[in-house]
């Protein structure tokens, strides 16, 4: 009995392990992958195939393609069912639902197997040692090829660049400030000079900002302009190895500084407008 239903027992075990794994607070990706692959690609389809074709009328290759295709189809259709629930499509809901389906199909298969079985002969594998060695070498070469390509992508030489940005930001109280940021994606350490002007008047300078690749620099600079009219703030970024050339440049026009609602610093672009197309826009 146990041997006859060994496949179903193994499936149940994998389902249980997946559920336990989903409930654990910590996760190791490799184990998650090992458990998830059969649950998504094989188990639902295999169990359903066993439940439908209880007379084992399908030969091995047909059984394989039925298991894979039905698994994909069951997962797709399950997604629509999960979408109906408030919990939606998340790790736990997926695990529970696919696990439940697998268990139900397995139970049906178990019940129907008792009725009849004409028993398809199992495959007889006659692999020689040399064949195994060749397969192993082929697998290793394939993995090396993929790794070689991935390393090639990671190490591909691309021109370096530096990001400069500016954003208005509200300070505590009623004062206004400008947030300035620089991110370096250059290939080596680069030293920058940053100049900030307000209505063409220089108000701040950072003469030596050294950033290694992938390093970010941010500064919040309070601004205290006049009481009326727009204020034009410009930030220019220079590389110290090319001090005469503006490397990047950003600017911002502030509207009626210090007089925004709630004491906020108003960028002219931040005036509200209604949106006709979508309700989830951040404007």
């Amino acid at each position: 009995m146990r041997r006859k239903n060994l496949d179903l027992i193994i499936m149940m075990s994998i389902v249980v392990m997946n559920v336990v794994w989903a409930l654990l607070p910590f996760h190791i990706t490799v184990i998650g992958i090992i458990l998830a692959l059969p649950l998504v690609f094989v188990l639902p389809g295999y169990a359903l195939t066993e439940a439908l074709f209880h007379q084992r009328s399908l030969e091995t290759a047909h059984h394989l393609v039925f298991s894979l295709a039905l698994s994909l189809a069951v997962v797709i259709l399950s997604g629509f069912i999960l979408n109906l629930f408030p919990t939606g499509l998340h790790a736990l809901s997926w695990t529970l639902f696919l696990g439940l389906l697998t268990v139900v199909f397995s139970l049906i298969a178990n019940l129907r197997r008792k009725e009849q079985s004409n028993g398809v002969q199992p495959l007889r594998f006659n692999f020689s040692i040399s064949a195994f060695i060749l397969f192993e070498v082929a697998t290793i070469v394939t993995i090396l090829a993929i790794l070689y390509s991935a390393v090639g992508v990671a190490q591909q030489r691309q021109p370096g660049f530096t990001q400069l940005w500016i954003q208005p930001t509200a300070q505590s109280g009623s004062s206004c400030a400008i947030r300035i940021g620089v991110s370096s994606f250059e290939s080596t350490l680069v030293t920058y000079r940053i100049i900030m002007t307000m209505n063409s008047t220089q108000i701040a300078t950072w003469s030596s900002v050294a950033l290694v690749p992938r390093e970010q620099w941010e500064q919040i600079e309070p601004v205290n302009p006049g009481t009326s009219g727009n204020t034009f703030v410009e930030v220019r970024l220079y590389r110290l190895d090319k001090p005469q050339t503006v490397y990047q440049k950003v600017d911002l026009t502030l509207d009626n500084l210090g007089k925004g609602k709630g004491g906020q610093c108003n960028n002219v672009a931040h005036l509200p407008y209604s949106h006709p197309f979508s309700s989830n826009l951040q404007t």
Binding site: L123, N126, T142
Partner: protein, 707 residues
């Protein structure tokens, strides 16, 4: 009964000539006494009667043939006899019954797996050479592909391989070809369509629900089959969306190969024909890259072919037949919600199959499983289209309208509909040898189809599915004519994945009939291998362009995969981090993708918002028209990539297909057009990374209208 002394073919007593080799039967011998069975047919022999065919050549045909020159009569007679050969694999030991033996005979599988993996390594070398901008990438690329393809092809043509070996070899080749595509960009998606679906997956991950808004491809969230499976794997395993997507498409590809091989096996009863047809299917222009990308067709196509296979399997099962129908319905339901085009085309195939079934009537129509599957398929399709807001009809009608108008323009020479062959949109010509391979590939397939159809008629004309495949294969030459227009070329490529289901089967039957195993020697095997390899290479060039256009390398302007690089990705990541999600943005084609996926922004597009703002970028000044356009579209941010002004767009346009001078451009867009926003006082230049600038135009579109 008697047998031909030349070739050993079994012939009826009344025959005067051998139906295979044309040998005159004046010296016939009794069956079982034939000698030298592999001897080629003697020269200068001809015949008119064809005893191996089900229907003898009519008298009128004899009269017509009799008036032809002798060599032509001989050729026609040989063709007719070979096309009708009922046992082309007579000497083969692996007919279907024996081939289904449960014993595993791996044959050359280990060695060929190793050669395929070595081919993969050669392709990896090609990619890295191309990434470093060095010469020689093309050589390694083709070498690698041929190492994957050719040795396995030779083995599949050979009659010696077992069923297990054939199916395993097909899986190995298909997997290796899929890895060829994956290695192109193993760390992130790089194909245009992949980003469209990545956005839909990201939305499912973010919201936990389906049917979000995707302005780049509004129809994608309505057909979320691929995204659902990807989300399931990603959620349960902890893999990233991209890694999960790669695995899902990979499994889909295995299903495709297995289902296709078994479909043809059910049709023809020969695993050898099936395996050759399957490897021929891999030569279709979209197999290597397009149908291996993370897009809905890549998953729907395998499932749809599985449905066809399930229907054919129904006929051959002794028990559990009704459950086959249920399984087919379940998978058909998955196809319906995964990809509209695949669903429509397979509905069409099923309808055609039903019609042919009704015509041939092997069993009463109401008992036919084909009818039941077809009706359910149509019902599900109608329901899916009837869903509120499903824009699929509009989506297709606009596409076919574009093709129609371009064909009209091309015919009347009145506009830009005609496409320049062998020259890409950046005016890079295709090399002579690549042109020759492409043309030879198309010509070879086109010329072989009639012979394949003849074989189909002679051998399988009682099978409704064979009729369907024969009719569909006739679409191949027609689809090639569409290549003369811009949209038509895309349609032709898209159609190839479906038309090749029929073409590959027809060609495989042609090969088996015309080169029967009893005469198959190394010369003929080499000839067939060379021909299929040329079709394979030509298909790749047709579908993906010449290698420089799809191999990785330095940045190119509006070149999809070659335009995806760190500066654009990092700009999109910055936008997400500093501007928040779903701001309304306008950008060029490539930055649309990046801002939508990495940046989670709402890109304003004609297809998603019914408003086209590309005029804003092509205008020398920002006048009242451009401002009103931006106001109407409620665009908040403009993303300007200054690199656009450095070269012509590889895909034919920078922003949208309907932009000024799309596909016809002779000079790059003027840099001043792109930098004009710097001079407008109420536009904020909030981000600058050298090449990419983001402008905040909220102040401009909120400004009061001038009187």
């Amino acid at each position: 009964m008697q047998s031909c002394p030349s070739c050993g073919t079994v012939l009826p007593d009344r025959s005067h000539f051998c139906g295979h080799c044309g040998y005159p039967l004046s010296a016939t011998v009794e069956l079982g006494k034939a000698k030298n069975m592999r001897r080629p047919p003697p020269k200068n022999t001809w015949f008119l009667d064809d005893p191996t065919t089900a229907f003898p050549v009519p008298t009128s045909s004899h009269k017509v043939l009799g008036n032809l020159p002798m060599p032509m009569q001989q050729a026609i007679s040989t063709i007719l006899s070979r096309a009708g050969d009922t046992k082309p694999e007579l000497s083969s030991k692996n007919n279907l019954k024996e081939a289904k033996s449960q014993a595993i005979a791996i044959g050359s599988l280990p060695v060929l797996t190793l050669t395929s993996s070595l081919g993969l390594f050669a392709v990896a070398i090609a990619y890295n050479i191309a990434r470093n901008g060095l010469a020689g990438a093309e050589f390694y690329f083709w070498l690698g592909l041929l190492l994957i393809f050719v040795p396995s092809l030779v083995r599949l043509i050979s009659p010696k391989a077992s069923r297990f070996e054939r199916i395993s070899l097909l899986c190995v080749v298909a997997t290796c070809l899929y890895i060829v595509k994956v290695m192109l960009s193993p760390l992130y998606f790089s194909q245009y369509d992949e980003f469209l679906h990545l956005r839909t997956v990201n939305d499912i991950v973010r919201t936990g629900h389906l049917y979000s808004i995707n302005t780049l491809l509004p129809i994608s969230p309505l057909y979320p089959g691929l995204e659902i499976v990807t989300n399931a794997l990603s959620s349960i395993s902890g893999l990233s969306t991209i890694q999960s997507g790669i695995l899902v498409v990979g499994v889909g590809r295995i299903v495709l190969i297995l289902a296709f091989c078994m479909l043809i096996e059910q049709l023809t009863g020969s695993v050898r024909i099936a395996s050759i047809a399957t490897i021929l299917y891999m030569t279709n222009p979209h197999f290597l890259f397009f149908d291996a990308q993370f897009a809905y067709e890549s998953l729907a196509l395998p499932l749809a072919i599985f449905v066809l296979f399930a229907v054919t399997l129904h006929e051959s099962l002794n028990s559990d037949r009704r459950w086959i129908i249920l399984a087919a319905w379940i998978v058909l339901g998955a196809v319906v919600v995964t990809h509209h085009l695949t669903n429509f085309i397979f509905d069409g195939l099923l309808i055609l199959w039903t019609v042919m079934y009704a015509f041939l009537r092997p069993v009463p129509l109401r008992q036919s499983v084909v009818v039941r599957i077809t009706l359910v398929g149509i019902l599900m399709t109608v329901l899916s289209i009837a869903l509120i807001g499903n824009p699929v009809v509009q989506y297709f009608s606009s596409f076919f309208k574009d093709i129609g108008s371009e064909i009209g323009q091309a015919l009347t020479n009145s506009g830009g509909g005609a496409r320049h062959l062998f020259v890409d949109y950046s005016n890079q010509p295709t090399s002579q040898w690549e042109r020759a391979v492409t043309l030879f590939s198309v010509a070879l397939v086109t010329l072989c189809i009639p012979f394949g159809l003849l074989c189909l008629w002679k051998r399988y004309r009682n099978n409704a599915l064979a009729w369907v495949l024969g009719i569909v294969s006739l679409l191949f030459p027609i689809s090639q004519l569409l290549r003369l227009t811009n949209s038509g070329a895309e349609a032709s490529d898209r159609a190839s994945a479906f038309i090749f289901i029929a073409v590959s089967c027809v060609l495989a039957i042609f090969i088996i009939q015309f080169w029967p195993t009893r005469w198959l020697n190394w010369k003929q095997t080499s000839l067939i291998t060379c021909a299929i390899s040329v079709i394979f290479m030509g298909g790749i060039i047709l579908g993906a362009g010449t290698p420089p256009s799809f191999l990785p390398g330095p940045y190119q302007v509006s070149a999809d995969a070659r335009s995806i690089e760190q500066e654009g990705i990092q700009a999109a990541i910055w936008a997400h981090a500093h501007l928040g999600s779903n701001n309304r943005m306008a950008a060029d084609r490539v930055n649309q993708l990046l801002m939508s996926t990495y940046g989670d922004q709402h890109l304003v597009t004609p297809i998603g918002d019914n408003v086209d703002v590309t005029d804003v970028f092509f205008s020398p000044t920002l006048g009242s028209y451009e401002i009103s356009l931006l106001k109407h579209a409620q665009v908040r941010y403009l993303v300007v990539d200054l690199r656009l002004s450095t070269a012509l767009p590889e895909v034919g346009y920078y922003f949208e297909q309907g932009e000024p001078e799309s596909f016809q451009r002779t000079a790059p867009i003027d840099r001043e057009y792109l930098t004009k926003f710097d001079t407008i006082s109420r536009i904020n230049r909030v981000f600058d990374s050298g090449d990419i600038v983001i402008y905040d135009i909220g102040g401009l579109i909120n400004a009061p209208e001038k009187p």
